[in-house]
Symmetry: C2
Subunit: 135 residues, 2 copies
């Protein structure tokens, strides 16, 4: 599994609003995965944003390493996976709503519908990546 930085083609794929799945490790030591929005920031970290009530928040706080696989829409043989530790959290509700709006606009062009949502943001660093058809 190559270390970061990603080649340009892999980074370009990752910057598109593609379907993605994030995985984490539960306290049991077993993996858990779920579909997610994500956004690559200018500094290279990857933003994800979760409902504040999700058990997975606590799991990631306890074991901060995550893996994310993005699949190219309509052509999912092309995919890229990145992984690394969460390096920053944002628990402030107003700030996190700004982040979910950025994600929502990236994927659908509109702000997040639920304006009273309690959200939390996390950013992980890409330390390793692997891919298929992105070299």
């Amino acid at each position: 599994m190559p270390k970061a930085p990603l080649p340009a083609a892999a980074l370009a794929l990752l910057r598109e609003p593609n379907p993605a799945v994030i995985s984490m490790v539960m306290p049991s030591g077993h993996p858990m995965s779920v579909a997610t929005w994500y956004l690559v920031e200018d500094d290279g970290t990857v933003l994800v944003n979760m409902d504040a009530g999700r058990a997975r928040l606590g799991w990631i706080e306890q074991h901060p390493h995550v893996s994310l696989t993005a699949l190219k829409a309509d052509e999912w043989y092309t995919h890229v996976s990145v992984r690394g530790p969460v390096v920053r959290w944002e628990h402030d509700e107003a700030a996190a709503l700004t982040d979910i709006d950025r994600l929502s606009r990236h994927y659908g062009g509109e702000e997040f519908r639920n304006r009273s949502a309690k959200r939390v943001s996390a950013w992980f660093e890409i330390t390793h990546w692997h891919g298929w058809a992105v070299d």
Copy 2:
């Protein structure tokens, strides 16, 4: 996270040849994820098939719990995730080629192109599931 069995709608989604991502835990304790084909067997276990040279084979043998998230093609807000332990392996190359052919036909209608491939099959049991828009 509900325990198995899955509701009918979730199982129906899982039986379609949808894009999917499997995740596992590496010896470091960190998660790793990758796009995959999968197939739900009549006994409810889930078949995945890997190139025999993949490091992930050893990782799963060492920590046999995996998680798989399937995204409905063209409508990936609808998704289902299932997880549980690998309960069966098939290392015999001819048998495993039969399995990758079943997967290849399920997804693309044709047998697997690389007839000299060395493949390994694994089946995991669904002990837990969660989903979105599949209730």
